[in-house]
Amino acid sequence: MYKLQLCCHSGLDPESIFIEYLSFTNISLTTTWIPFFNGMTKRLNNMNNFTKQNIIYGYDGTFDGFLCCAFESFSRKEIPTDIVSEKDFQPSLLEQFNIATDLEKSGRVKKSIREKISSDALFFLRDALFTNLTEKELYMLEFIRLGYKTGSKIMSMLSNDIVSKLTKAVRFLYNESHRYKGFIRFSEYGELLVSSIKPKNFVLPYVAPHFSQRLPNEKFIIIDETNKAVCIYEKGKLSLFDAKDIAIPKTDEKEVFYRNLWKDFCESIAIKERFNPKCQNTLLPKRYRDRMTEFQ
């Protein structure tokens, strides 16, 4: 049978990401016009008094956790040297300030980003946290600071370094997610479909809802080896877990049968006079292939 060792992520409500994502897809992406508040100018002037501090913020890796870091940064009027998630933490000589996730604080930051910048900016930041950009948290903090000055137009300020860097990282996340929608391969074990991936970004929140629409009446799991996470879909519900040591059982005859059929098909469909491995490599980079049936 399937041997799965799961443990629920401490700080993360497993379903909230998906719920947020799904409601997000229903929202139209036009930038909302935010009325300019009179009182804001005064507060903005204060923002210039921020000082760089030799301090590292630690947080639990969740979006709410990050927003709490932003909250602290604003209330202490300081810019930390780094913001690191528990998972990536390495001992350092600098002072470490561990910030506990407080949903009330993060809620306040969310509200203010929505009002002073835009809802799009909030979703954009949430996406940015799932990217593999190094020091993404620092860029995101800069983005919020800049956004408070400029308002909703920040999303179009693509010539700005911070915005451009984050936009590119988010685009990479979207592109990789789109690719995985095609390149994921499931194997059937009884009634369960199993797939494992090794992405560069955290693509599960974008990929999994696609498959729940595609296979609404199946049971499937997708294992993300990079981020040690697994997503499970059963009876119309998606859930996300932290996962360690997942043993995938041996495939049965039926599975091998269809794998071989698929390999044969991929070979028969190529036109030999048009052989073009370079083009194939561009469109289907080699790093995806070790998990794809037709290249095994």
């Binding site: 400029t150 137009k153 179009s156 300020m157 693509l158 010539s159 370094d161 451009s164 789109h178 929608k181 095609g182 390149f183 994921i184 391969r185 499931f186 194997s187 059937e188 479909l193 797939s195 696609h210 498959f211 629409q213 595609r214 296979l215 609404p216 009446n217 199946e218 119309g236 269809y258 071989n260 059929l261 698929w262 044969d264 098909f265 991929c266 070979e267 028969s268 469909i269 190529a270 036109i271 030999k272 006079e273 048009r274 052989f275 073009n276 491995p277 370079k278 083009c279 194939q280 561009t282 469109l283 289907l284 794809m292 049936t293 037709e294």
Partner: protein, 435 residues
Amino acid sequence: MGMDIFEKLSILAASAKYDVACTSSGTDQSSTEKGSIGSKVACGICHSFAADGRCISLLKVLMTNICVYDCKYCFNRKSNDIKRTIFLPEELADLTIQFYKRNYIEGLFLSSGVIKNPDYTCELMIKTLSILRYAHRFNGYIHAKAIPGADGKLLRQLGLLADRMSVNIEMPSQNSLQLLAPDKSKESIFTPMNFIKESISENTRELTIYKKAPKFVPAGQSTQMIIGATPETDNQILRLSENLYKKYKLKRVFFSAYAPVSNDKLLPSTDFKPPLLREHRLYQADWLMRYYNFRADEILDEKTPNFNPFIDPKCNWAVNHPEFFPVEINKASKEELLRVPGIGVRSALKIIAARRYSSLDFEALKKLGVVLKRARYFILCGGRKSEGLIIKNDEILKALMSKQELAMYKDHFLPSQLELFRENVQTPALLSFRA
């Protein structure tokens, strides 16, 4: 026929490989209905890429490669001595579902040789699609080929089951068609094409009245033609596809570089290399017409009936229209921006969004994804040229050509001929740029 499924699939996939279209785009739908499987995504999804670099998105097979016709360019022609076989409708439907579940494919592309007669063939296809749609409750993508000569009622049934339909016009002119496909006539191709077009527009009207009316070919129709087997010029081919887009409201026209399948006297010899570059240029021009507001007569005309092999059609247009340039990035309209080599649809939109907030310079353009290597010769930012811009023929050619094109160009022309070629592409005209 006691053939196992492995052999059947190999034969019927290999027989279908010359059909180009493998797109799964154009319609969006998902359903969580009990017992159903499958969804559609408007942008389409590529599931793999074959060794020839072409996308694999659909299970592309023939119902059967048995065919009563003897079209000379076709691998499955009656007179070709190859193994013949046929899928059982249940067998093919089951295979589709098994592949779909494992995320190998986005759906099914079903074409067929003509077995017995067009109606019988069409009925077999309808049966397969009905099993998929009703027994398996399959909501994924289906592309069905209309069989020329089949009854209108059958085509209608097929269209209600499929997301996209296509009728191949096969050859870029009537003469070539008569010569190489004696069993097919111009009418037998354009009648179903017109029928599908009419049914789609009728269905659009129905859907405005009754939202739940069954959908007829919601992702539209496409067609394809073979390039290089017959003497038509690029200009003729481009005009034809422009007309097809206009007259039959096609979603896509595909081009297929002829790969030799027969040693018939009327066709190129068997050591003929598929004209891949020509096909590539046609697709580039097709893109210009569909997304860049180019007309066919702006790209090619009677005087220059064929593509310049060394330079893409957009750059070619640009170097031949120096009067249009330079374009001021901070003021130009979207249409003007789209004419600049190195600026695509996405970067044009980004420029328009970004310049609302601050005036753009060359550094900013780089961040927006503009290919400055090409664009710098054609644009001004705030009235200024790109710094250190060298307007010399060699430099410009290097900038406008890809590495491969440049190598091919140097290979092709001896030094003395280089001068001649330069006149052809009129690069000296660029020298008259004033900034």
